[in-house]
């Protein structure tokens, strides 16, 4: 997912937003299509991994400049608030929820960690170079986490103790502390 977003143009033309939107729609559609067909344990694990990746909202990019091979431009980017962001996060959270019972504890842990990372962004924690989600994007991410919160509340004791502790951590962030 990082590598997909890294290839999306930023500050390149007036069409940047449109391209990002098309990319988000495409990956959400591809994940939904895979979710409908995924039956084997391997396919379900791939869905869980896709769900984790879809929760990416902030990423870094480092590029060599054209004119000077010894010069690099580093930047951090936050996905803007949009209906497409809402869709991508909903699909990602849905993929995590639907696969928790089918993947091993290590994969579940990675899923919870990615969701916790998203919760940190909702709470206002900044990413690389101090970048933060906009208030609207935080609200979208906050809403996207709701089904996962409900699922974990109802199924907490089906997880092993370390994962139960990780699930509590997902709720621990205080909005506006940082």
């Amino acid at each position: 997912m990082h590598s997909i977003y890294e290839r999306v143009p930023v500050d390149a033309s007036a069409q940047d937003g449109l391209i990002l939107s098309v990319v988000q729609q495409a990956i959400a559609q591809a994940t939904r299509r895979h979710a409908r067909r995924a039956k084997t344990p391997g396919q379900r694990r791939a869905l869980a991994i896709a769900g984790q990746a879809l929760l990416t909202v902030i990423f870094e990019r480092t590029r060599q400049t054209v004119g000077n091979a010894r010069e690099f431009r580093m930047g951090a980017f936050a996905l803007p608030a949009s209906a497409d962001l809402e869709t991508v996060l909903d699909v990602g959270i849905g993929a995590l929820i639907s696969t928790f019972a089918e993947v091993d504890d290590k994969e579940s842990r990675r899923g919870l960690e990615r969701a916790t990372e998203l919760a940190r962004r909702v709470a206002g924690f900044s990413g690389p170079f101090g970048i933060q989600l906009t208030a609207k994007a935080r609200a979208i991410a906050h809403e996207a986490l709701e089904p996962l919160d409900a699922y974990l509340s109802n199924n907490l004791e089906t997880f092993c103790l370390p994962l139960q502790a990780e699930a509590l951590n997902l709720r621990a962030f205080e909005t506006g502390v940082v």
């Binding site: 935080r138 609200a139 103790l161 370390p162 994962l163 502790a165 997902l170 709720r171």
Partner: protein, 141 residues
Amino acid sequence: MASEPELADLARPKAPARSAQLAEYIALIHPADVEPPSAHYSWDEEQRRLLAAATEIASSLAADNAWRKRLDRWRRWAAAATALYEKESLGQAPARMLAQLAELAPKRAVEVLDYLIETSSPLKGRRGSGHVAATSDRNLG
């Protein structure tokens, strides 16, 4: 799509209640913080809370006739956490609890240490990590 939110609208929902086992696991074994650093209390207060939790577990262990079963359970929890996090993951909590146990019930502390060594429990700490040594010093003192 959501409209411009207020900060209060973004508050995380309250965490579900912890079972007694989960609370004990978090206090003693879990390798990471479950609550992130809080602006509501200081580092000193945090240390006091950790010590209070260690004292509570130590006193319940001192009073528990089935303490061997309890240590076996903790050993299984530690093994599960180590397998999940793919590293030796125990922090200072077991040492803190053993030190408190030595203060509260020295005889039980010696029995516990013997059992931890006998069963090669990771709760005794690795060689040189000082868990067992710290507790034994208190006993001898």
